[in-house]
């Protein structure tokens, strides 16, 4: 990690900023798809150093944020089963469902554990044979291969008390829905380096061709983001719509076939509910028939009443890039990081949390 400093280099950043200011003529809106980019942009103060011609808007790339309320409600219902241990990535415990959150269930006695990896959940299942250990699997193409690998291992070990509740999301179908909605007035995409490392650039090529929209695959440090913005500005000023890779140290056009292979052995695309975008065909991942022994939905009653979102919550519009948090009536008044109403305020990668935290 010693190389971190070169991507936070002050002089290099200043040169890029000067070039962007010099070359950006027409007003443009660029969407950073990934929540990690949103946070990095705010954390390093990138918005203030850009010329007024460039507007950055956040997209649907925060896995916690796009998890639908009904998916949270199902997790809450699961947590109430006696003998169940819920394991999940951190932020999800705080996301409010219709009536409750996993955090509130934990305070009421439910066994809810935060893990960094699904392999930790696997370990918990092996060590707690008297418990049914359920991993709430959220995330995009980046996390899904690891979760698939854990399922393969669980099968190898013959574990009977390890389950996953898959709420995975696939990015390309969501981009397609966004672009077809016609709400976005967008001139370019800042694509997520990590997702691209797995899936490659094929899906973006289609976007570039079909919608004449340029995109650059971007790393997560300030110099990466500034360089990406400069690459997009150049393309747009020249009327081009290509897919380029700025994040060459991590991504390539073909992605990671080995990871994709593991993913496809275990999962198959399925329709999935997205917060703000509704149900999108083939945008989720379900366990294949031969792995259904690990599917929580086949072993527990997951019927929940229709989800109730707070009527004032604008997370959906924020995720679609058509509203900023400042245009939500609840922002900073009723909805705050310590008493969040929508998921975009909960997740550290949520747009509302970033606006709140960094005082936009």
């Amino acid at each position: 990690m010693k190389h971190l400093s070169e991507y936070r280099d002050k002089e290099l950043a200043q040169k890029l900023i000067a070039a962007i200011r010099d070359q950006s003529k027409r007003p443009i809106r660029l969407m950073e798809v990934c929540g990690t980019h949103t946070v990095s942009i705010f954390r390093h103060g990138i918005r203030q150093v850009l010329p007024p011609t460039i507007q950055l808007i956040s997209g649907p790339g925060c896995p916690v944020c796009v998890t639908a309320t009904e998916e949270i409600d199902r997790a809450v219902k699961l947590a109430r089963n006696p003998g169940v241990m819920i394991t999940t990535f951190g932020d999800l415990v705080r996301v409010p469902g219709s009536q409750s959150s996993l955090q509130m269930e934990r305070a009421s006695g439910a066994d809810v554990r935060m893990v960094y990896s699904t392999f930790d959940a696997l370990k918990l299942a092996r060590e707690n044979q008297n418990k049914k250990v359920i991993f709430l699997a959220i995330g995009f193409e980046t996390t899904a291969p690891t979760i698939a690998a854990a399922v393969l291992e669980a099968k190898l070990l013959g574990l009977e008390n390890y389950f996953i509740l898959s709420a995975h999301k696939l990015l390309p179908p969501a981009l397609e829905v966004l672009l077809n909605s016609g709400d976005l007035n967008l001139q370019g995409f800042i694509y997520p380096g990590h997702v691209t490392t797995i899936i490659g650039t094929g899906a973006y090529e289609q976007v570039a061709e079909k919608y004449h929209l340029p995109g650059v695959v971007c790393g997560f440090e300030p110099v990466d983001i500034l360089e990406t913005i400069l690459m997009l500005v150049r393309q747009i000023e020249q009327g081009q719509a290509k897919v380029e890779i700025q994040y060459k140290r991590g991504s390539s056009a073909i992605g990671n076939p080995k990871a994709l292979n593991v993913l496809n052995r275990v999962f198959v695309p399925c329709d999935a509910p997205w917060r703000g975008l509704g149900t999108i065909p083939d945008s989720g991942l379900a366990l294949r028939p031969e792995f259904r022994a690990f599917a929580a939905e086949d072993h527990f009653d997951l019927q929940v009443p229709p989800a109730q979102d707070h009527p004032g919550c604008a997370c959906g519009e924020v995720l679609r890039g058509i509203k900023t948090p400042l245009q939500c009536l609840l922002f900073r008044t009723a909805c705050r990081p310590d008493s969040p109403i929508g998921p975009c305020m909960v997740s550290t990668e949520g747009t509302c949390a970033a606006y709140f935290k960094y005082n936009e």
């Binding site: 990690m1 010693k2 971190l4 936070r8 002050k10 950043a13 200043q14 900023i17 990934c34 929540g35 990690t36 705010f42 954390r43 390093h44 103060g45 990138i46 918005r47 203030q48 150093v49 896995p63 916690v64 990535f89 951190g90 932020d91 999800l92 705080r94 409010p96 009536q99 409750s100 959150s101 955090q103 509130m104 934990r106 305070a107 009421s108 935060m114 893990v115 960094y116 930790d120 370990k123 959220i138 995330g139 995009f140 980046t142 996390t143 990590h194 300030p222 500034l226 705050r336 990081p337 310590d338 008493s339 550290t348 990668e349 709140f356 935290k357 960094y358 005082n359």
Partner: protein, 336 residues
């Protein structure tokens, strides 16, 4: 949704903790000392200016590189006294242990308490022990209280920061919190990280020897530097600006933070202090700090402003400025 239960967030040292204290505790025990919300209460008793504080320690794991729950329990309370400018004298200690707790672990904890007390020059003069059934606490919890004497002429408190003051930091950030996380079950990874737990009272005495014009001292423990500076900005009704490129952070801490998705500015420290004082004295105090083993990496990291009262602004390396808010919730890992 309204909360009718105490959540883990309420103990995280960030905004939720503050709200619990302000809404539930302060109104119940109303008095001017508590209301000040400083590291220690300061009061006059028969002409002596005393500082009094208490803290409980529930760290997990109880042993970690650079210290254990025992050294932490002594250093934490010594430091809370020192942050009011007090010279600490006497500590009390209370143990709550789980049935079955290994005696050799207890002895190791007591040994490190003894060593830390010796280094700080304090005596542990009274104590209490309780044992509860297995599972009623996790291994061992320790409470310490301490009492110290403030030399005449000093008034060091979170309320005293003034526009134009310099902000000094005694060393690198994030060492303690990242060390604990790196050893926590389920997260364990190999690293050279080591907790910075240390008694800072001698360093404070050396700082005070430069003159009486020290306005604020505070140790950035839970919630990290960002939360501590927000507390001071709020108490003093001033703005604070800090400069990212001047903040000392070890490469190992930086790397571990990136892996875990944490921001070192929000991670706990147990052997660092922030000093706020007039610019004119900054250089002299910095020189004194650098001579002390616990202040070798001390740096001038920012200044107090009249603008944006109650807020902390970070000037980033690339030249942008952004708000540095208080910690909300526990710092949680990234998920993608």
């Amino acid at each position: 949704m309204t909360f009718d239960k105490v959540l883990l967030d309420h103990g995280g040292g960030g905004r939720a903790s503050h709200e619990l204290i302000e809404r539930v505790f302060v109104p119940r025990f109303q008095n001017p000392f508590l209301k000040e919300m400083n590291d220690s209460a300061v009061f006059d008793l028969n002409g002596a200016n005393l500082a009094f504080t208490t803290d409980s320690y529930v760290v997990d794991p109880i042993f970690f590189p650079g210290g254990d729950i025992g050294s932490l329990a002594v250093c934490g309370t010594v430091n809370d006294l020192a942050m009011r400018g007090a010279k600490p004298y006497y500590l009390s200690v209370g143990f709550i242990m789980e049935e079955g707790f290994p005696l050799k672990d207890l002895e190791q904890i007591l040994l490190s308490m003894e060593r830390a007390a010796q280094e700080a020059g304090v005596q542990i003069v009274t104590g209490d022990t309780k044992v509860v059934p297995k599972g009623a606490v996790d291994k061992i919890f320790i409470n310490t209280s301490g009492i110290g004497l403030i030399p005449k002429g000093f008034n060091i408190a979170g309320q005293n920061a003034q526009p134009g003051d310099a902000v000094l930091l005694s060393g690198t950030l994030g060492d303690h919190g990242l060390t604990i996380l790196s050893k926590r079950e389920g997260l364990a990874f190999e690293s050279s990280l080591k907790s910075d737990a240390a008694p800072l009272n001698h360093l404070v005495q050396e700082i005070l020897s430069t003159g009486p014009e020290i306005h604020v001292l505070r140790d950035p423990t839970r919630g990290g530097l960002a939360t501590t500076l927000n507390e001071i900005a709020g108490q003093s009704q001033v703005g604070i600006e800090i400069w990212e490129e001047t903040i000392p952070i070890r490469d190992s801490v930086s790397a571990a933070s990136e892996i875990l998705g944490l921001d070192p500015l929000y991670v706990a420290n147990e052997g660092k202090l922030v000093a706020i004082l007039p610019q004119s004295q900054a250089e002299a105090v910095l020189a004194v700090m650098k001579k002390n083993p616990y202040g070798q990496d001390a740096a001038l990291i920012g200044e107090v402003k009249a603008e944006n009262p109650g807020k902390v602004v970070l000037k980033t390396i690339i030249g942008g400025k952004r708000l540095l808010d208080m910690l909300t919730g526990e710092q949680l890992p990234r998920i993608c």
